[in-house]
């Protein structure tokens, strides 16, 4: 048994460099170019097939995408979301066997206001991304994180998007039928019906939705956002807040019917029933960051690196960085670490509270849409006192956003 004072005297094994054969594990013919997992070496061609197949399998496993359905892709410009975008293009292309059949749109959130970038840097990043989006021919929306501070009050009503009911099969079908204009063509010419849907969408977009950048922001908006982040003390909380605001903004866009999508595809975040009708799927979850980086490099997938809140941060700067550093280091010596964590996490399920139409919608946190503990009592008062102590930053925001932020503070405690 392990004891504190036990001497090992060199009995510990050092990590053995995996002895991989030079031939691909799949085709056994071509020279290997990449090792993934704990010793599986692939050649270039087999790796590409494996990568593409995994994406399709992930979407197929969910069985929630109906033909012609509108799917919103959340793209940050980073490697995972850029890879996701290219996989969607690959899947929708005419050459693909078992072609994917849905109508994609792209959303990009400019977070430069929160991460301290200058307007010039932000414009440059947006311009680079716009050229990537234009090359896809999909409709795209570029929004600024500042917009989350000027949410209309109707959107601030928690759960207003949802009737509280999870989508049923029949309501999905009805939504799809509504989308595809010539239903009778659907069975005869499925490709035609998707094209009809796409041209219908493009007509809509010219009249109603401006493709491209939504309303411009003012320096005051950016200042308000900076004050919000400055009022959050720790880097961990800042990253968490950023993540939540990003998510909230995507959902807001959906609620405003600016782009009516049934599904959100993103490379981070998780899928759960809090947001009512919209289904969130993370098809890139199955990939290791090494696989994504290698694929992007080998197959020239354009991605734009945009420095964020956590760039150049030390390992111990935040819980997120510490966790990443811990797992990455462990992975170096024990290559099964990430896949084990991932498989274990798949066994966890979110608790889904019983859907109750009488649920008080106002009792939910505006940001994370979880139930507030309204029985906080005295501690609740402590929180609001602390919030006011945090600064003028909170009080100089408009009434709605102050309400918004205070609720967040309450929830943290």
């Amino acid at each position: 048994m392990c004891q504190v004072d036990e001497e090992y005297n060199g009995q510990l094994d050092h990590r053995v460099t995996p002895r991989v054969s030079k031939k691909c594990v799949k085709c056994k013919e071509n020279t290997t170019v990449l090792i993934i997992r704990a010793g599986d070496a692939f050649c270039r061609g087999c790796f590409k097939e494996y990568f593409i197949h995994k994406f399709r399998a992930m979407l197929g496993k969910n069985r929630v995408i109906f033909p012609g359905e509108k799917v919103l892709l959340a793209v940050s410009g980073g490697p995972a979301s850029s890879s996701m975008l290219s996989q969607v293009q690959e899947g929708l292309s005419r050459d693909a066997p078992k072609k994917l059949r849905f109508v994609p749109g792209i959303i990009y959130i400019d977070e430069g206001g929160a991460s301290g970038q200058s307007m010039e840097e932000r414009k440059r990043a947006v311009a680079q991304l716009e050229s990537v989006f234009r090359a896809t021919n999909y409709h795209y929306h570029i929004v600024h994180l500042e917009q989350v501070l000027s949410l209309p009050s109707s959107v601030l009503e928690a759960g207003s998007s949802a009737t509280g009911k999870p989508p049923t099969g029949s309501s999905y079908k009805a939504a799809v039928d509504h989308l595809i204009p010539t239903r009778k063509n659907q069975n005869q010419h499925p490709d035609l019906s998707v094209e009809n849907a796409q041209s219908h969408l493009s007509n809509l977009s010219m009249q109603e939705v401006q493709n491209g950048v939504t309303s411009p922001i003012t320096p005051e908006h950016t200042q308000a956002l900076k004050r919000l982040f400055a009022s959050v003390r720790t880097p961990t909380a800042k990253e968490d807040l950023l993540h939540t605001l990003r998510h909230t903004l995507c959902i807001e866009l959906w609620q405003q019917q600016l782009c009516h999508f049934e599904m959100l595809l993103c490379s981070q975040g998780f899928s759960d029933p809090r947001h009512g009708d919209v289904v969130i799927v993370r098809p890139m979850r199955d990939y290791s960051s090494k696989e994504i980086a290698y694929y992007n490099r080998m197959f020239d997938i354009p991605s734009v690196f945009i420095p964020g809140l956590d760039s150049k941060a030390q390992d111990k700067a935040s819980i997120q960085r510490l966790t990443e550093s811990f797992v990455t280091k462990l992975q170096t010596d024990f290559p099964s670490t990430v896949s084990t964590i991932y498989r274990t996490s798949e066994k966890l399920h979110t608790a889904c509270p019983p859907q109750n139409t009488n649920t008080q919608l106002s009792a939910k946190c505006l940001l994370c849409v979880c139930a507030l503990d309204t029985k906080l009592g005295e501690s609740h008062c402590q929180c609001t006192k602390m919030a006011s102590h945090h600064g003028n930053g909170l009080y100089s925001l408009n009434k709605n956003t102050r309400h918004f932020v205070l609720k967040r503070v309450v929830f943290f405690i």
Binding site: T32, V33, S76, S289, Y294, R297, S311, S325, T328
Partner: protein, 99 residues
């Protein structure tokens, strides 16, 4: 002898090198062949502009940085022991916090 190497930095690693992604370097002559371990030391001393601990840790690269030599995973080439050849292409891609 190694005279010319092309280096590429991606995924944010370029931030540590003055935001320049592509570099062409000529390594100084020496009697023994250059290997990756020596290259890292050389990069640390001659090219890194800031925060070396975000790129190199100990003898090797920081965990989370993918290294490719001539478009192949360096784990297949011997990692630090790989002996560099003239006109080799070495790529460092940071896979940390990748969105």
């Amino acid at each position: 002898m190694v005279s010319l190497l092309s280096l590429y930095l991606g995924g944010g690693a370029e931030l540590l090198f003055g935001s320049v992604k592509e570099h062409h370097v000529t390594l100084p002559n020496q009697s023994e062949p250059w290997d990756m371990k020596q290259l890292l030391v050389w990069i640390r001393g001659n090219m890194l502009k800031e925060r070396p601990e975000l790129f190199v840790q100990g003898d090797t690269v920081r965990p989370g940085i993918l290294v490719l030599i001539n478009d192949a995973d360096w784990e297949l080439m011997g990692e630090l022991e790989y002996e560099l050849q003239d006109k080799d292409n070495v790529v460092f891609i940071s896979t940390l916090h990748g969105g």
